[in-house]
């Protein structure tokens, strides 16, 4: 008798003896012929019993795979937030250059236009790093699904996108690499009814694919010059904004009062009402304030450099976790968790400029 069971669950596990059968029912509706399932299950039992000794390992691999996927995704999302600050800064740069052009009677200046076009093009190429991080996040998410309920299809497409974006990013920073075909080769080894050890094998295979692409990008980021390329744009943005601010103050339009208050706050000092009119005539005080403004600007650039270093450290911290997973060793998440926390602190120090 063919009996149909309507299944709506995303993940089911059936224990048989000491073995575990992990049965994936994709999201949505799926109809399964139970008599066929019973036959397959009968044949599978012997495999399961043979694999019983490996079950503990499989469970640990799946659990570690899920943990690595979660921490890897969190790290990638945080790195992306740190990396996209410069993308949002382009609008601030355009405003500053527009002001500087207008003030200096250079509206339509060909060099200003070329400069902004070059900066936009550079920023566009560098945003490839953000796209790569998005793909990394998706791949970890898909690996987590693979570890949880053998969601093979998602991983297959995610790792393909990660490979494409790895090659695109390397090309964008002038260090083209060739991704070997096996970097995205399928990890699928069994059909809908999968024993835990096979699912664990798939997770390990997925881990190796991500680790390989991760290593490629780490090598690119480690090369001298890549960091300068990625943060040079920030220095130029900060310089143009600083120039516009200096012009605004020199013309008596903007005030140094917020800067004075910030400087004096730790000493309990507050600026007086006519501070700016005094500052403008005291060249030493003005030079001091200008220096503080430049320092704040430098701090923003240095936070980008620090974010680059921390992101690279985070990527490097993921590699031994992959290796632990692949060798069945426990994961030590301390390094990656600490680095992600530091990235969060950097992002909080200099939030992206508000845009309307």
């Amino acid at each position: 008798m063919n009996e149909l069971i309507q299944a709506t669950g995303a993940s089911h596990r059936i224990s048989i003896g000491t073995g575990i059968i992990c049965r994936r029912w994709a999201s949505g509706l799926r109809f399964i012929d139970v008599s066929r399932v019973v036959r397959i299950a009968f044949n599978a039992v012997s495999l399961v019993l043979l694999g019983a000794g490996f079950t503990g390992c499989s469970t640990q691999t799946l659990s570690s795979g899920a943990s690595l996927a979660k921490v890897g995704q969190t790290a990638a999302i945080q790195m992306e937030q740190n990396a996209t600050i410069s993308a949002r800064s382009i609008l601030a740069l355009k405003k500053a250059v527009a002001f500087n052009d207008g003030y200096n009677k250079q509206v339509g200046n060909a060099d200003s236009k070329a400069f902004l076009a070059n900066m936009t093009a550079i920023q566009g190429r560098l945003s490839q790093f953000g796209r790569w991080l998005e793909s990394l996040s998706s791949s970890y998410s898909a690996m987590g699904d693979l570890a949880s309920y053998d969601a093979f299809g998602n991983f297959d497409s995610s790792i393909g996108a990660l490979a494409t974006n790895t090659a695109n990013f390397a090309g964008a920073v002038g260090k083209p690499i060739t991704i070997p075909p096996d970097a995205t080769a399928t990890v699928k080894v069994a059909g809908g009814l999968v024993i835990g050890s096979i699912q664990a094998h798939e997770v390990k295979s997925a881990s190796r694919k991500i680790e390989g692409l991760l290593t490629n990008v780490i090598a690119v980021l480690d090369e001298p010059g890549t960091k300068k390329q990625l943060v040079a744009i920030q220095r130029e943005v900060a310089g143009q904004i600083d120039q516009a601010a200096a012009v605004l103050f020199a013309n008596g339009i903007s005030s140094y009062a917020p800067l004075l208050d910030d400087l004096g706050s730790s000493l309990g000092l507050k600026s007086i009402a006519n501070a700016d009119s005094l500052v403008v005539n005291k060249t030493n005080v003005l030079a001091g304030l200008r220096n503080v403004a430049v320092e704040l600007s430098n701090e923003q650039v240095e936070s980008q450099e620090a974010a680059y270093d921390k992101s690279l450290a985070a990527l490097k911290a993921l590699v031994p976790l992959h290796q632990s997973l692949e060798h069945g060793a426990p994961l030590n998440l301390n390094a990656i968790v600490n680095t992600v926390n530091q990235l969060q602190q950097l992002a909080a120090m200099f939030p992206p400029p508000k845009t309307k």
């Binding site: 500087n100 200096n104 009677k105 250079q106 200046n109 060099d111 200003s112 070329a114 400069f115 070059n118 900066m119 093009a121 550079i122 002038g174 001298p224 010059g225 300068k228 390329q229 040079a232 220095r235 130029e236 310089g239 120039q243 200096a246 012009v247 020199a250 013309n251 403008v280 060249t283 003005l286 030079a287 200008r290």
Partner: protein, 116 residues
């Protein structure tokens, strides 16, 4: 007879650093002139600054060609950048700044031609 060794070929990044430094020196010169001459017309200085900035940003987008003459051109540009930086605190005259910046821009342009 002295055996003159050719100057080592600079890397693309080293040349980009020189061009970025030239653009920054031009901006600092503008700001120094602004501080010393509030309200003065600094549009010529600004034009020179943006020229230097555009040269750097265009080079940033290109690859460096393998011409040995670039080492000497880079050295001359770096020396000029130092000259500009050395006068930031003392030079007040806008005309004198303009002469210095125009020279800087010419040297930056000559270095940038080695980018394909």
């Amino acid at each position: 007879m002295a055996n003159t060794q050719p100057a080592p070929q600079p890397s693309a990044q080293e040349v980009l650093d020189s061009l970025a430094s030239a653009a920054d020196a031009a901006r600092q010169a503008y700001l120094a002139a602004l501080a010393a001459n509030p309200g003065a017309d600094l549009s010529d200085l600004y034009r020179a600054e943006m020229r230097a900035t555009a040269i750097w940003s265009a080079a940033e987008d290109k690859a460096l060609s393998n011409d040995p003459a670039i080492a000497a051109a880079q050295a001359e540009l770096d020396a000029n950048v130092q000259k500009v930086r050395g006068q930031l605190a003392t030079l007040k005259d806008v005309g004198a700044w303009l002469t210095l910046l125009n020279s800087l821009v010419q040297l930056a342009a000559s270095v940038a031609k080695y980018f394909a």
